[in-house]
Amino acid sequence: MNKTLVLGVIGADVHSVGNKILEYALNLEGFNVVNLGVMVSQQEFIDAAVETAADAILVSSLYGHGELDCKGLREKCEEAGIGNILMYAGGNLVVGKTPFEEVEKRFLDMGFDRVFPPGTLPQTGIDFLRKDLGLANISDGGGSL
């Protein structure tokens, strides 16, 4: 029942602090975490997801180039035969303070399943992962902890 997640910070982005915390929190929660760290290319995300038969890809982007960096990722997944993989994005996804609804729309349109605003705590992502991956909720008495 151990779900595998590929985690990383996309593009030329080096913001490593949130990534380390996410890894720690997801591990605690019992997920099998493949953390690619920072400065991860689209190809690296896909290769890791294929290789580990991952259940989800979690993309972080903090530095503002998220839009440029994420374009085409869903299409590449499709080409690689994992077109249906669950795909999340979070962080400071665009340049500049922007109403989150706009940002969410842009990223949903790009093929992400869920999008998270700046300042999202790991627990929020975890709760959605459990739901989307069909895992019992911790508060339901289940869970893998």
Binding site: V14, H15, Y24, M39, Y63, V95
Partner: protein
């Protein structure tokens, strides 16, 4: 070839130079002689070194924002706005992340998409792509000095273009622009590449043009104990001075505990001076910069103003030469020019209200200064030892051995074993020393301080406590108390 602390011989420098200028078409625009002439024509009040010296003489603290957008005219408009409506004393040109990673092709795409969408899709100004003439247009459009601020492991071409472009200060260093800003770049290479940038500054200096150089103080901006950033500042100052740089600004990112911050600022200058003098660089000028809180910011803008103000107060009370200012948009994204100017004005009010005041030399400050001094010297001496007297070799080997280790850094050339945590008063201490070369007394001090907090919070200090501290300021506290 091992990287060592030798001044690059002129012929070798000029050889490399050809390669560097060939990296992107705009390199051809650089003409050193002409650039020296150009700099001689820059008025004194637009030169970084002069402005910093004057500020130190007057005991005033200068204000500088971060700012950069994709397109030239928009960037000029932004800087002018910050000069006029933000009352900035010094201006930046913050470089975008593609340029920082020498991905000039992607930067070009960013420029073009920004033109098309009529908004900046880049997180900074791609100076290399824009070239020398554009940089001069930028620096000529404002009435105060402009500095290049970036985070570029290999900044050789950027330095060539921007200095020829009339900028009078260049931030960065082979460690501070690698370890927090890169993943796969060996220190051998980045230190060597930064020796080039320093040599370039030295080359200008030999021709009568002093360019300010500023090692990046805050590193990962997240719970950095002062001795770590001080050690990096000292190493990079020594490396820069060896290549002939004559004017250096050493930096520190605010931690939040006033006693520790003031002690850090006082020792930063003292220790840098001490080592520069020891190695014979008595005539290199040293000034200081305090960065307002560099970690995660609160989302709420009115709370962000509180964080900004407390950073301004720390800068004023420690008599920093300059302060780098955050904006109320910090947690959200690159600030609009209005938000950026607002952060500057908040800072201006606090700095100017406190200009007559400074933190007195209390027992607490004295103790803290002594500890920072001992820790920093332990690190530098261990590095000199492992480098057999050579600070460059020592730094490279020292990072490998974990004698110096930057918390939370993305680089694989950093050990990443050290864990910082706040003590019960909010000062940043060590939870895990990794391989830092500290004596038992220093270790005991940190352990004691951390233990007091653990007792008060009734929990064992561990990684969860560190995480709580990382979130603390964005959640409205300095110390991440258990929820």
């Amino acid at each position: 070839m091992e990287t060592t602390d030798k001044k690059i011989p002129m012929d070798q420098f000029l050889e490399t130079r050809k390669e560097v200028l060939a990296q992107w078409p705009t390199g051809a625009e650089v003409d050193f002689r002409e650039a020296v002439e150009y700099h001689h024509g820059i008025p004194v009040n637009k030169r970084f070194p002069e402005c910093l010296r004057k500020a130190d003489e007057n005991g005033s603290t200068l204000l500088q924002p971060r700012a950069g957008v994709a397109l030239v005219n928009e960037h000029i408009e932004l800087l002018r706005y910050l000069e006029e409506h933000g009352q900035a004393d010094l201006l930046p040109t913050t470089i975008d992340s593609y340029t920082r990673h020498n991905r000039y092709g992607e930067a070009q795409t960013g420029i073009e998409e920004s033109r098309r969408e009529n908004r900046s899709l880049l997180n900074g100004f791609p100076a290399v792509n824009h070239g020398v003439a554009a940089c001069r247009k930028v620096s000529e459009s404002v009435g105060i000095p402009v500095q290049v601020r970036h985070g570029t492991p290999d900044a050789r071409l950027l330095a060539e273009i921007t200095i020829a472009g009339g900028f009078t200060s260049f931030e960065g260093g082979g460690i501070s622009y690698n370890i927090p800003y890169a993943k796969n770049n060996p220190l051998e290479k980045t230190i060597r590449d930064w020796q080039y940038a320093d040599r370039l500054a030295g080359y200008y200096a030999e021709n009568g043009v002093v360019i300010n150089r500023e090692p990046f103080g805050p590193l990962t901006g997240t719970l950095i104990p002062p001795c770590i950033s001080h050690a990096v500042a000292i190493i990079e100052s020594l490396l820069a001075a060896k290549q002939g740089a004559g004017d250096i600004t050493v930096g520190y990112g605010q931690g939040g505990n006033l006693t520790q911050d003031v002690s850090a600022m006082y020792t930063l200058k003292e220790l840098t001076r001490e080592y520069l003098d020891r190695f014979g660089f008595n005539d290199v000028r040293v000034s200081t910069v305090l960065h307002q809180w560099m970690g995660g910011f609160p989302e709420d803008e009115s709370k962000a103003y509180g964080v900004i103000s407390w950073g301004a107060a720390a800068a004023a009370l420690s008599k920093a030469t300059k302060v780098i200012v955050k904006s109320p948009h910090e947690s959200q994204g690159i600030p609009t020019k209005e938000a950026n100017a607002a952060g500057l004005r908040t800072t201006r009010q606090v700095i100017d209200m406190l200009r007559e005041q400074r933190m007195p030399m209390t027992d607490e400050v004295r103790t803290e200064m002594e500890i920072i001094g001992r820790e920093t010297r332990s690190i530098i001496e261990a590095i000199l030892k492992i480098g057999e007297g050579d600070i460059a070799a020592g730094a490279i080997r020292g990072f490998e051995a974990g004698l110096i280790d930057v918390p939370f850094a993305p680089s694989r050339y950093n050990r990443g074993k050290v864990l910082p945590v706040r003590d019960d008063d909010g000062a940043i201490r060590f939870l895990d020393f990794g391989q830092l070369p500290f004596g038992d007394d220093i270790k005991a001090f940190h352990n004691d301080m951390v233990a007091i907090r653990g007792r008060n919070e009734r929990r064992k200090p561990n990684f969860q406590m560190v995480i709580d501290d990382i979130y603390a300021i964005s959640k409205g506290r300095l110390v991440g108390r258990p929820r």
